[in-house]
């Protein structure tokens, strides 16, 4: 047995360069100068948060600060210089002049074509991604395609708060000095300071609204000013609790089949007047229909999905006034954008291509995907739909050979990172293996950021070097997919806390065999096609596997 000091938060700071002078300078900036150190607790002093959970990053002109689609858990604050957000890097067009020549006489004087050059230059680990020279030239030529952010404003908060992907690319317009605030720091600043909390939340609402409206297919034809008006008329609402796992953990093993339904706040009720279109901005929502005295789950909606669209189109086309045909409930924490009916009719329906609109409502249960209702009910009820790489075992094909377990163990120092036990749904088993959730609540409470999303793939991984073994993630995981393991030194001796002699622990879970190929070892090793890692957010893909 070897006795060592138990690791603590801030043993490994975000950056080693945050000297007292830099911390003082950061705290004197306009955005942070109002902070009162007296509001913070002794164990989490303001200067400690800035010194350990933030870092200064320098970007040269044209370098990318965050890239759309990448995962990230930190927010940013510009200390000096200008940064800009690219409005939408997909579908950018460039004007072309009329080609000369006899055969081009009837062609329009001006036309457009999609950008046909790379937007970014590749980068290595040391350097930042950079706008390509052609794209930089394009950006300067067409300033409508980006928004310059004022100095001293926060950005990057959507990915940090929604635990998701970056929703836009931000680049440095000039040489800039930026304060990167890790999720833990942002969380604690918001906890202890009301002004920052309100400011970040307001930005989150404002940016989420803009991003969601811009990315909605049937609104894509709108001009900037129309989108702005729609933005002003829309409402941003949230349902459920940010840390939803607490209430879920209390009811998940209840025998009452409706216990989870009862804790899901109603967003819209079947039979209610259709007052607008609902866009899911983040999270999951249960779509259900009332059958006698119960609710039949017929699907679930995720980020980017809409609710009430069919009803709105039906009413607009026929002049009738049918109500919402389904109910919508928040599974966990859900952000909703509510666009009033009048705005949708004015901006969207009046100019839209009819082919984009759905047919009139006649049979609402006739959904495209083909999955047994009982299975769907249970997947939603137990919230397995949160998983992006859920390990599902077909028990009618699994022979219990344990090749999956052995393969996992052989890649992870002899210790498998999952347990083949799990919930049984019909002939399938959802095992105790990290599902790499779309909404990873295990990340919320981590004091050091040891459990985090990998930047590009979005896998949830644990950095053993910064994990202090507090068990926060293991306790937060509503699926019991994280376990705490004893730590051993190189000679195989268990490490003990020097103060009380208790074993030191580290969190352990599936890392999807990152760096060992595109398919995890467990799935690779299954000889009977019984095991599959499924993205439960993609109902069509898993229905396909279920019905193979």
């Amino acid at each position: 047995m070897t006795k060592v000091r138990r690791p603590k938060r801030w043993d490994k700071p975000f950056s080693k360069d945050m000297s007292d002078a830099i911390v003082t300078r950061v705290l004197s900036t306009k955005a942070l100068s109002h902070l009162n150190a007296g509001n913070f607790s002794d164990s989490l002093p303001l200067s400690g948060i800035i010194a350990n959970d933030t870092r200064i990053v320098y970007f040269k002109k044209g370098e990318v600060i965050v890239r759309k689609g990448e995962y990230g858990g930190s927010a940013f604050l510009t200390l000096s210089g200008d940064v800009a957000i690219i409005k939408n890097e997909v579908g950018l067009e460039i004007e072309t002049k009329k080609p000369t020549g006899l055969f081009n006489f009837f062609k329009a004087a001006k036309s457009t074509r999609l950008l046909d050059f790379p937007l970014f230059t590749t980068h290595n680990k040391e350097e930042h991604l950079t706008l390509s020279p052609q794209f930089q030239h394009f950006i300067e030529q067409y300033p409508d395609n980006y928004i310059t952010l004022e100095a001293d404003s926060f950005y990057g908060e959507i990915a940090a708060l929604a635990r998701g992907t970056r929703t836009a690319t931000v680049f440095s317009k000039t040489d800039t000095e930026i304060l990167e605030i890790g999720w833990q720091g942002l969380r604690d600043l918001m906890r202890y300071d009301t002004q920052i909390r309100e400011q970040v939340r307001a930005l989150y609402k404002q940016h989420s609204l803009l991003v969601q409206l811009r990315n909605t297919k049937f609104l894509s034809h709108l001009k900037a000013e129309q989108l702005q008006q729609l933005n002003e008329q829309s409402l941003f609402e949230n349902y459920g609790k940010f840390e939803w796992q607490r209430s879920f953990q209390k009811v998940k093993n209840d025998e009452d089949v409706n216990s989870t339904l009862k804790i899901e706040p109603i967003i819209a009720q079947q039979g209610d007047y259709v007052d607008g279109l609902l866009l899911i901005s983040s999270g999951f929502a249960r779509l259900s229909k009332t059958i006698n005295h119960g609710e039949k789950t017929i699907g679930y909606l995720k980020q980017g999905d809409t609710f009430g669209f069919e009803e709105l189109v039906h009413n607009w086309r026929t002049g009738e006034e049918i109500d919402y045909q389904h109910s919508l409930r928040a599974i966990g924490y859900v952000d909703i954008i509510r666009i009033p009916t009048s705005s949708i009719e004015k901006y969207a329906f009046a100019h839209i291509d009819e082919a984009l609109l759905p047919t009139l409502i006649n049979d609402h249960d006739n959904l495209d995907y083909d999955i047994d209702t009982g299975i769907l009910e249970q997947l939603v009820e137990k919230r397995f739909i949160n998983g992006s790489s859920t390990m599902v075992i077909d028990r009618h094909r699994c022979t219990g050979c344990d090749d999956c377990v052995s393969a996992c163990a052989s890649l992870h120092d002899g210790q498998a990172r999952f347990n083949r036990n799990g919930a049984h749904i019909d002939k399938y088993a959802i095992t105790h293996a990290c599902m790499h959730c779309t909404d990873p609540v295990c990340l919320i409470g981590c004091p050091t950021g040891a459990i985090h999303r990998s930047g590009q793939l979005g896998n949830i991984i644990i950095d053993d070097n910064t994990c202090i073994g507090c068990s926060g993630c293991a306790n937060s995981c509503p699926y019991e997919n994280i376990i705490m393991r004893e730590v051993f030194d190189d000679s195989g001796q268990a490490l003990l806390d020097e103060q009380n002699g208790t074993p030191l622990l580290k969190a352990s879970k599936c890392d999807l065999c990152i760096g060992h190929g595109s398919i995890p070892a467990c799935e690779q090793a299954c000889p009977h096609d019984a095991l599959k890692r499924l993205d439960m957010g993609n109902i069509a893909s898993f229905a396909d596997w279920f019905n193979r």
Partner: protein, 271 residues
Amino acid sequence: MKLHQRRLLNVSLLVLALLVIVFIQQLNQYTLNNNAFFTGWILLVAVLVLYLFTLRKKITGGKLFLKVSTWMQLHIYVGFFVIALFLFHAGWQMPEGILKQLLYFTFVAETLSGLFGLCITRMLPPCLARNGSVLYQDIKGKQQQIFNDVEQLVEQSLDIKSNTIAAFYQEHLLHFLLKPRDFWPHLFQYKKIIYKFEAEFINLQRYLNEEECEIINKIHVLVVEKNRLDYQYAGQSLLKRWLFVHIPLSYGLLLFAVLHLILVYAYIGGL
């Protein structure tokens, strides 16, 4: 690709491969080439392909190799191919000579064990799943827990000054509860054992008061669970143990095949 489509594709490829072999055999007859050498070499190569499956299973995390399930499909259908090829090669008759006969019987045993394995890996898992899956390594622990719980209930019955349940336990249950039982009856889905217990429990209830009935009902539930675990143990043990026949036989087969090859070439003057 759906599973039935994959099966159709694999069977089609198998039939095509066999037709090619038959066609080449016919050609060999016209050209007076020796078919035994042709089928023999193809057979040896195909058998070596079957061995590659074991090698693939030992490699973990390789980026360049196909999934093990794909290799499994290859193993199964090449296995069928090898059976047909073997019959072509042996001329549909029992060979003469001790070595050839050893090779013949080893091949037959290996084939039968493979076919048996294929059948049970397809048929048993659905039955085990319907019975309520439990991990193999947990079965003995759970049975021990049941044993302890029953013992505790029996002691409880002694506390109320009655030894009827204790006697019943000694006579009918102790042996049953000590370790996994009735391996073969469970494999053949023979349910007489549990029916016998059911009848004995019903008979016993005539002689018990309300308090004892409560205890015996709890024991009854535990016995049914123990029986379920026995079924799981039997099924899962078979799924694991058939490989203890199939794999050693495969090494024997390879040994005899190589010996056969050496002798054939020695006797035709090829060595």
